[in-house]
């Protein structure tokens, strides 16, 4: 399974950025929390609208199965659902801590967006 985590930095010890579309990095890891890739999301950070949609497309292109983030708006959520990517929202701490919570089955899957559409 591939897991994408929105992050303030490029490593698995980086702290999670709660924003999906506008997080500076999206870290992609496998089940065992081995780093696969750290995507530089900076061009999205200052996007006007559609930042979440573009971020969703970015991780869908990399065949991610699960996204761990803080907040996920309605447009991003719709896009993620269409791509079959599951969402674990309200995550905090480091990338590693969040992935370990997944392993322990402590991350509920979101069935709806938990943020307003962001401009």
């Amino acid at each position: 399974m591939k897991i994408a985590v929105t992050s303030t930095g490029k490593t698995i010890e980086s702290v999670i950025d709660p924003r999906f579309g506008r997080a500076p990095f999206i870290v992609i890891v496998d089940d065992d929390c081995n780093l696969i890739e750290a995507i530089d999301n900076s061009k999205n950070v200052n996007a006007f609208r559609g930042a979440g949609i573009q971020a969703a497309k970015t991780i869908a292109d990399r065949k991610v199965d699960l996204l761990l983030t803080g907040r996920c708006g309605p447009n991003a959520f719709t896009t993620l659902q269409a791509a079959g990517i599951k969402v674990g929202a309200e995550q905090s701490g480091t990338v590693r801590e969040a992935v370990e919570r997944v392993k322990r089955n402590e991350v509920p899957l979101a069935d709806k967006p938990n943020a307003e559409a962001h401009w």
Binding site: V45, E116, W119
Partner: protein, 287 residues
């Protein structure tokens, strides 16, 4: 940390002067001037710029006349009438949609990033401030608003500030929507005139649509107490809390002319009222 946006619907109700007064009264505050079309907060805040960056808001079409065969495909299909009969792109009409770029049979049209303005991080006597200037006549003010808000929030998070106060734009359109989506609280400043009531109703409806808690300030309430009552009644019926009323007071404008907020100067009816309003608001925001 809380993000609070001050808006008004109608212009000229005293929104910016009141925002700056709140900034003076609040502790641990980051200011964000999101009225980027006609930014005035800097006049009162007197910012010392410590960081400055260009803002590239979007793209515009540029026609390469060496390649152009004058076939007219772009002109026929552009929905914004942005291409002249001599195949020059009207910068102020171009939407940046890139349709012409994709359909030009000669590949003679490229999209160029446009400089729409500048944004700044500054120090003020109130605290850090993020502000921006849109180049006059340029578009994408909504995008610039989003950028200013983001930067202000980042500073607030880094420096452990309690509150971000955002000076929003007038109206109910693009820059206003951009300055209130996702904030924790909205303050609406209005005045007791028919236009003030009318515009406040529209902006209150907008805020309601976003499900953001809000409260109302009636500035210059005593220039028409009857209309002021009517506004209060409307606010009641719409579950918008009344944060308070500020009397008409010449000091308000006189302080602005001196580039000060009215609460920084000697006690006056307007200043005293604003202090009370802020106390009440501050409680509601943290509730």
């Amino acid at each position: 940390m809380k993000e609070v946006t001050v808006i008004s619907g109608k212009g000229g109700t005293g929104k910016t002067s009141i925002t700056a007064s709140f900034a003076f009264l609040a502790k641990n505050v980051v200011l964000a001037d999101c009225d980027v079309d006609a930014a005035d907060l800097h006049i009162l805040a007197q910012p010392q710029v410590i960081h400055e960056e260009d803002f590239f808001g979007g793209t515009k079409a540029v026609i390469d006349h060496d390649k152009c065969s004058n076939c007219g495909t772009c002109l026929e299909n552009c929905r914004y009438d942005a291409i002249s009969a001599s195949f020059v792109v009207d910068h102020s009409a171009c939407e940046g949609c890139a349709l012409c770029h994709y359909i030009c049979p000669e590949s003679a049209i490229r999209m160029e990033e446009t400089l729409n303005g500048k944004w700044f991080i500054s120090n003020t006597r109130f605290g850090p401030m993020v502000h921006a200037n849109l180049i006059p006549g340029e578009e994408n003010s909504g995008k610039l608003v989003a950028l200013v808000r983001n930067q202000a929030k980042l500073i607030a998070e880094e420096q452990n500030m309690d509150i971000v106060i955002v000076d929003g734009a007038p109206g109910v359109g693009c820059p206003v929507i951009s300055s209130i989506t996702g904030v924790d609280y909205v303050v609406i400043v209005t005045e007791p005139t028919m236009s003030g009531l009318h515009d406040m109703k529209r902006v209150a409806e907008l805020v309601k649509g976003f499900n953001i808690p809000s409260s109302l300030i009636i500035n210059k309430w005593d220039i028409h107490p009857g209309m002021s009552n009517e506004i209060e009644k409307f606010a009641n019926s719409e579950n918008v809390a009344l944060a308070g009323k500020i009397p008409y007071d010449k000091t308000f404008t006189e302080s602005m002319v001196r580039r000060k907020t009215v609460v920084e100067e000697a006690s006056s009816p307007a200043a005293d009222a604003i202090v009370q309003v802020w106390k009440k608001l501050n409680q509601s925001v943290w509730q």
